[in-house]
Amino acid sequence: MSFSPGLILILGALLVPFMQGMVRGAYIVLLPIICLFFILTLDSDVSATIAFLDYQLVPVRVDQLATVFGIIFCIAAAISALYAFHERDGLQQVAALIYAGSAIGAVFAGDLVTLFVFWELTAVSSVFLIWARRTERAYRAGMRYLIIQIGSGVLLMAGALLHIADTGSIAFTDFGLTSPATTLIFLAFGIKCAFPFLHNWLQDAYPEATVSGTVWLSAFSTKLAVYALARAFPGTEILIWIGVTMTAFPIFFAVIENDLRRVLAYSLNNQLGFMVTGIGIGTQLALNGTVAHAFCHILYKALLFMSMGAVLHRVGTIKASELGGLYKSMPLTAVFCMVGSASISAFPLFSGFISKSMILAAAAEQGYLVPWLILLFASAGVLDHSGIKIPFFSFFAHDSGIRVEEAPTNMLWAMGITAFLCIAIGVFPAPLYAILPYPVDFHPYTATHVITQYQLLLFSALAFVWLMRTGVYPPELRSTNLDFDVTYRKGLPAVARWLVQVFHPLDQTMRQRIIQFAQRIIAGVYRYSGPGGSLARTLGTGSMVFWVLAMLVGYLLISLAAP
């Protein structure tokens, strides 16, 4: 009888408060590694069940899809823990472990009830990584994040209940978009996966989290949603169009965004688009591509967030308008950041290349010309915001004069290990290909792939240079850019204010009427029972005796009248 691997982290988190300092830090790094080895010992295609009411819960369902995500989640947790090793904030440490554990638990969940429990637990635990920043801004962003995440859970529960009523089964399998129930589940996944118009929690909350909190956050929630979509809705065609939209629109925002961690959040959204497109295409190559891309993406995105976190940690700001020239004081961080940039841009020999090319090849194989062109456009866009903008405006560009220390040693190790993995996967993709859900017959390093990719990327880079040299490239400005969240951050309060304006006079008149009515009643009562009122007159004892007598006579007459 095996138990959910996620419990190793969740229950392990409960011991964190009993440890201190380095021991505690080491323990948090070690726990995901133990979890990783436990996952590797799980027999494939085996599931554990527990009887629950009339249903069979499946807390552990082991197959290749779940295992790949389990493995990368453990690696991400260990790396994030190493990155956060210097921190002594128990709240964050416990929250992060429970968060990672519940994501792993959700990946191995074989039924909707278990999935729902872990799904909500990721939301509730992760919000503390945002609140741990302990600013008013972070508190508010966390609140918005929590409301939306819990909303996703509520939709999932509603969908699951309907689905159980429809089919009598709680199994979490390939549903397809076939009924109102599965549509609700689809929407629940869509919120967590940051579908267009449901995406803004991501760009809103992630940049407000703590330095290490954002690294934790970047790995789990959205990739859990990718996993869930790949499990339940592979080959659902609408996902292709949702996916390509996700790859395309965030890059416009990324170009003009000033907060570099927010740029990365937009870029994260864009990368999710590639995965969602792969799920929509639904062929073996596409799904393999999606899983491989999620695997690589977790690493290079964490690497980019770590490097920007290190800058924030040392400089105290992450606004592009304030930064520049930092390679002089943080050379190692700059190198690691550029490895992450090269990986996300999918330069050959870096990890993104061997996974993203699978999704593009799958789109081409199925003859999806327009989606393929959009993906190609988005690939050029990735080069702009994550490939060039992130490293260029922080570490190079004009020298801001800021001189700081290099990042702390534990951060450098975490970034170094991740950078190594990004290159290793790019150079030797075979081990990753071997653990994908389907057999892989794909060769990324063909002359066509490599040359066309270099053409796309270097001509884009040339365009950047040209725009910079001619002064056309938009300067970094301190600003906020409106996105869809303006609807609920400005729109909803405006509606509330309008309602108050309309209903306030109405409410006032109603109150006045009621008060006037009550006053009239009080005046009437006062007239009759107040001093001098007819009901308040005092009568003499004699008249009372008279009335008692009259009553007794009345009784007598009635009793005599009755036979």
Binding site: L369, D384, E405, L458, S460, P474, L477, S479, R497
Partner: protein, 92 residues
């Protein structure tokens, strides 16, 4: 690692010299030219018709990149607000 000192006493880095930046730019230009004409020297395994156009990937990359940046720059007119835009009317 550089200590926080007078900026004037700092060493001059290789990238501080505009000459070297230009060198890098020209290097990129040369590589791009080579890449562009490399289409003539190998058999392209392409699926779509459009991929067979000579230098398609390079021209496409350059064009959409410029298009993306120019559109985003224009979008600032619509979308850009002051930094404290969401903190202004907090009382509600």
């Amino acid at each position: 690692m550089t200590e926080k000192k007078e900026d004037t006493s700092e060493e001059i880095y290789w990238l501080d010299q505009p000459r070297n930046i230009s060198l890098l730019v020209w290097l990129l230009v040369v590589i791009c030219i080579v890449l562009f004409f490399s289409d003539a020297f190998y058999h392209k395994h392409a699926i779509f018709e459009i991929e067979h156009l000579f230098g398609f990937y390079g021209v496409f990359g350059f064009t959409v990149y410029v298009g993306l940046v120019m559109t985003a720059k224009w979008l600032r007119n619509l979308l850009m607000r002051p930094e404290d835009y969401y903190e202004r009317d907090d009382e509600l």
